[in-house]
Symmetry: C2
Subunit: 243 residues, 2 copies
DNA sequence: ACGCTATTTTTGTCGTACTAAACTGAGTGA
DNA sequence: TCACTCAGTTTAGTACGACAAAAATAGCGT
């Protein structure tokens, strides 16, 4: 069995072109945000037919390395960790068709944030804490406006993802947010629930302030468990534990 | 701004076909491991040219929803969490061109396993512990055979990923393993290092046995930090902190 | 120098054709 | 009867040409 991300020994002509272009993007020959050469140029350059060139382009597009607007030139996009989320998007959407997929993903989120708040409690800098405080204040200020509260809620959690200096985390936050959003949009939002969530955030914040990772983790678990109860009702899962 | 995993209002004909086929796979009309209809059939069915059909097929292939061997019929593959890793593979490879990418990913692994060992210490069942014990024994038995040790080492960590009942974790383990493997292959392996790693595994195991999450986490951190020191040397990073 | 229009590219899609490989079934031999 | 071989058929991979529509560009007029 091969590795997961492998390429079989190139049998398709397009794969070779894909590899070449990938390399050029990595090497910086093709600069970020600049358009790809036209298909004809690529044909000449690689000595392939337009069919193959176009196939390569779609492949690169699906991999998230270039951005293809319908009738425009493809644009090179230097890969960042957001690109990961683009590539995973379609698959995730498939997985979320099954409510269990939503649960699994949500559990992943809980797992991640548990680790994050622990780390925050242990290693948050002054500036981190200031950011958290600001996010919390914004959160409190918007309790009565459910839409705005949703945004500041997300932002508060996002701040947690930024405390770690690992650039992967903000991308993951973006991913969780956009994947789970459709399900959260269906949840009814009420000021009293907002209040409850705000208080949970506050508890987490204070635990971080007191450098108490266990308390922070417990508060987060309780917070997200409560939130899950709100969301689970929006599913029309027919409780088919069989399938 | 759109969601991350969205599809723009279909302007490309292929996208419509992709969506249709995606839906059929999700609905179970196209069964797992069964071949896709031939391109001609799809042409007739969707009233599109072969070009478009083929484009849709490559897209599905890149998304990991079907498996395309060079001259064979594409095979439907019901998406699981491994599919995620397939989709992310190419992007990850790009990110790993930069040593900082390797570091970020490795840190993600450390972060993940820290949470996993904590959970294991708190919630591992008898059967989990038995699995860990077996993995540890296999690990010990292969200290002198570096190749075999590498396998059992990976398996030991993999056991940690399986303790959580979340199916995402085993997939993540597969991902970490295959992405980081190329770098680890370059690391020289010596029996004494194997011994050292085995002892670290044993410490982790014992901490889990004693239901001590902090000790387990600390042992894991130390273990992976030491392993990182071994790997970092294999990079030819010119210490360009500028870029 | 600026805005509008006409011309040229370029992309998206279609059709056809040809090659080589995989699939199918009939026929042959043990 | 079964397995095996070999031709014929189907299909994927690739190439070439064509055309409409949209974008990019050049040219024109003011």
């Amino acid at each position: 069995m091969n590795y997961i991300g492998e390429a079989a020994p190139d049998c398709r002509a397009a794969d070779a072109i894909v590899a070449q272009i990938e390399q050029r993007i990595a090497a910086g020959v093709l600069v970020d945000a600049s358009p790809l050469p036209s298909e004809r140029e690529l044909m000449l350059e690689f000595g392939a037919s337009r069919t193959v060139v176009r196939e390569a382009i779609t492949a690169l597009s699906n991999r998230g390395l270039i951005e293809c607007k319908p009738r425009f030139r493809p644009v090179v996009r230097r890969v960042g960790y957001e690109t990961l989320m683009i590539a995973t998007g379609p698959v995730i959407r498939q997985l979320l068709n099954d409510p269990r997929g939503v649960k699994s993903l949500y559990d992943m989120r809980v797992f991640t944030e548990r680790g994050l708040v622990r780390d925050a409690a242990l290693r948050a800098t002054k500036s981190d804490i200031q950011n958290l405080k600001a996010a919390l204040a914004a959160n409190q200020a918007s309790i009565s406006d459910s839409d705005e509260f949703y945004r500041t809620d997300t932002a508060f959690h996002g701040t947690l993802y930024q405390i770690s200096d690992n650039p992967v985390f903000p991308a993951i936050h973006q991913g969780f947010f956009s994947w789970l959003a459709p399900h959260w949009d269906r949840m009814q939002r009420l000021p009293e629930r907002n209040e409850q969530n705000y208080l949970a955030h506050k508890t987490i914040y204070e635990a971080i302030l007191e450098r108490d990772p266990d308390a922070a983790e417990d508060a987060l678990i309780e917070h997200l468990a409560a939130a899950w109860e709100f969301v689970r009702d929006t599913f029309d899962w027919e409780d088919d534990a069989t399938r």
